[in-house]
């Protein structure tokens, strides 16, 4: 009979092999977990008893998958995804970029800075880094290239800015982290605000320093815009500010849960879109259909992961690893650096959701055994995943931007520009790890 912990490790290896062979993440997790759970149930008594194992495996598989989708709280995922699509069609997301552009137009590299600010604003409405990079890339990069910006700056600023979607609430990655760690999603959302804003400020600073040291990389600032025009442009972005207030203010003030904030924001965005005559019924319907496909893909992975995590719980592999690490007795700093190194390494090859569902069953018990705060750890994990979105060779956001821009900026040029933004990411990560208060200040003040 195979020892369950060994079977757990074999299952991990099997999932990695299937992932490397391009089997969709959800299918790899679900199929391996099903076969391995069946093996455990069938051999539990020492003799092979498949009849009993079939029922037990079916219960495990069905209950985990069904309970995940049959969830009130998780309805926030389709709602936040829908919010992003509707806000885009109602031109609410692009207004933030337009307003930032007017405010920053006098500065060298102002449009690149506006792109990063626009990405931050887009992130505060959508919650998906790739959607953010894809949408903002289509709007900002061609404009910057037309204005004479160096392709390295034009593309890397949007690829890096797009990652803000993971930290600034609402964030799909935080929701998934919340599901698997059974942590308050409201608190996670709040914990992401300051690190997200810190990253945004760091990215703007990178552009300022880069254009100051190498003025040829961006054209000189345009003629100054009058104060009146600036405020008028800012005023045009009011729907985005309202949505941010509903989501962050509503959750922080204890008025709504995150799920309710999502529903209210969707309704408010739809009303604003129709009132401003920018949204049509056909556009709304298309938004909902796009939402369906995107949400289904996310949930299918989460379902596979939920089944896999339940199987891992059966094997006892997580406590074994915790025990093994505890025997090694590393300091907290060494432990966190090792975890960060693993996430950064995985981030080079795997997508963020895949990394989370594969690693959380092992890393969370480990971190908990050290008495570390799980909300703070969530911010660290999401920051690491953010970095993975722009690190070579995979860097999903970079590929999305490359797909949008085409021949004007090959992948290697985008990665060449990304290095400066990565240095800010590493500094912010170090700050978040060294000073947990940056993440925990807002959750501590929640009602």
């Amino acid at each position: 009979m195979i020892d369950p912990a060994t079977l757990g490790l074999i299952a991990f290896a099997a999932v990695l092999v299937l992932l490397a062979l391009r089997v969709p993440i959800a299918f790899a997790l679900a199929s391996v977990a099903t076969v391995a759970a069946f093996t455990i149930f069938a051999t539990r008594t020492g003799t092979f008893m498949p009849e009993r194992a079939i029922r037990a495996t079916a219960s495990l598989v069905f209950n985990n998958a069904f309970e995940l989708v049959h969830s009130y709280d998780l309805s926030m995922i389709p709602l936040f995804v829908a919010l992003g699509h509707i806000a885009y069609r109602a031109e609410i997301t692009t207004r933030i970029y337009d307003a930032a552009k007017v405010w920053l137009t006098g500065l060298r590299g102002g449009v690149a800075m506006a792109s990063v600010v626009g990405c931050g604003g887009f992130s505060a409405i959508t919650g998906s880094s790739i959607a953010c990079a894809s949408t903002m890339g289509r709007i900002c990069v061609p404009e910057m290239l037309r204005m004479g910006y160096d392709p390295r700056l034009a593309t890397s600023s949007v690829a890096a800015g797009g990652t803000l979607g993971s930290l600034i609430p609402p964030s799909v990655l935080f929701i998934i982290y919340g599901i698997f760690t059974e942590t308050s999603i409201n608190a996670l959302f709040m914990a992401g605000v300051l690190p997200g804003l810190l990253t945004l400020a760091g990215f703007v600073l990178v552009i300022a320093v880069w254009t100051w040291r190498d003025p040829a990389i961006a054209p000189a600032g345009a003629a100054k815009v009058s104060t009146r025009d600036r405020w008028r442009a800012a005023g045009m972005a009011w729907p985005a500010l309202l949505l941010f207030l509903i989501i962050v203010g509503g959750i922080y003030g204890g008025i709504f849960t995150a799920t309710e904030a999502a529903a209210i924001s969707v309704v408010a965005t739809t009303i604003i879109g129709f009132a401003q005559r920018r949204l049509t019924w056909a556009g709304l319907w298309e938004s909902m259909k796009e939402t369906c496909i995107q949400t289904t893909a996310i949930f299918l992975i989460a379902m596979g992961a939920k089944i896999f995590v339940s199987f891992i719980a059966l094997t006892g592999v997580a406590p074994s690893i915790v025990e093994w690490v505890t025997d090694l007795d590393p300091s907290v700093v060494v432990l966190m650096l090792a975890i960060a190194a693993i996430y950064l390494l995985l981030g080079m090859f795997l997508d963020p959701i895949g990394i989370m569902v594969l690693t959380l069953p092992l890393t969370v018990p480990l971190v908990e055994s050290y008495g570390l705060n799980i909300i703070w750890f969530g911010v660290v994990v999401i920051k690491l995943l953010e970095i993975g979105l722009i690190t070579p060779p995979v860097g999903l956001n970079v590929f999305v931007i490359a797909g949008v821009v085409g021949r004007d900026a090959p992948i290697d040029r985008i990665f060449a520009g990304i290095a400066r933004f990565l240095s800010v990411d590493v500094i912010v990560l170090a700050l978040i790890m060294a000073f947990p208060v940056i993440s925990l200040l807002l959750p501590m003040g929640m009602r």
Binding site: I25, L79, A82, A263, T291, C292, I293, G304
Partner: protein, 168 residues
């Protein structure tokens, strides 16, 4: 099959609209009239099953399932195509226990007359039925994709994967 997929996709989209409205109206009723819709939490949960699982076949047809492509991108288009087919086969095998278990659960719920305790005592079977329909339609689509992709491969063609924007 394509028509059925479009119908299920549309029903999924309608379910998202319905659950959004249901939650928003409930918040409004709570804040303004200190009241709420009966069994709204159960209704949202049932609608979630429709919203997530009914479009599963359409998502599969659009090849929207997220996969790791870094290693296989270095392979030839033909080898990559074969791996895409293998992924669909694994998917079919992975979903089969879900369909079987869902079917058992549905039959048990109908025969027992199981319901959710609440103001309306809503029956439990519709959510299970939506689960079975969604997973079943996805399996049919996967089987069709496998068949089509094998034919493409036999004809000397290559199978195309989904664009990266579909991810996350």
């Amino acid at each position: 099959m394509a028509r059925l997929e479009r119908l299920l996709w549309a029903l999924g989209a309608a379910a998202i609209v319905a659950l959004g409205l249901l939650i928003a109206v409930n918040v409004l009723l709570r804040e303004v009239f200190a009241s709420q819709l009966p069994d709204s939490v159960v209704m949202v949960r049932e609608l979630m099953v429709a919203a997530i699982l009914l479009p599963l076949a359409a998502a599969t047809a659009a090849r929207a399932h997220i996969a790791v492509e870094f290693i296989t991108d270095h392979l030839s288009p033909r080898a990559r195509s074969r791996l895409i087919v293998m992924g669909s086969v694994v998917g079919l095998l992975g979903l089969a226990p879900l369909l079987w278990a869902g079917g058992r659960e549905l039959i048990a719920n109908i025969s027992d007359g199981a319901f959710f305790y609440g103001d309306l005592n809503l029956p439990r079977w519709p959510g299970r039925a939506l689960f079975v329909i969604g997973v079943g339609a996805c399996m049919i689509r996967l089987a069709l994709l496998i068949w089509q992709d094998i034919r493409t491969l036999r004809a000397g063609g290559v199978v195309e994967a989904a664009p990266p924007e579909k991810a996350e």
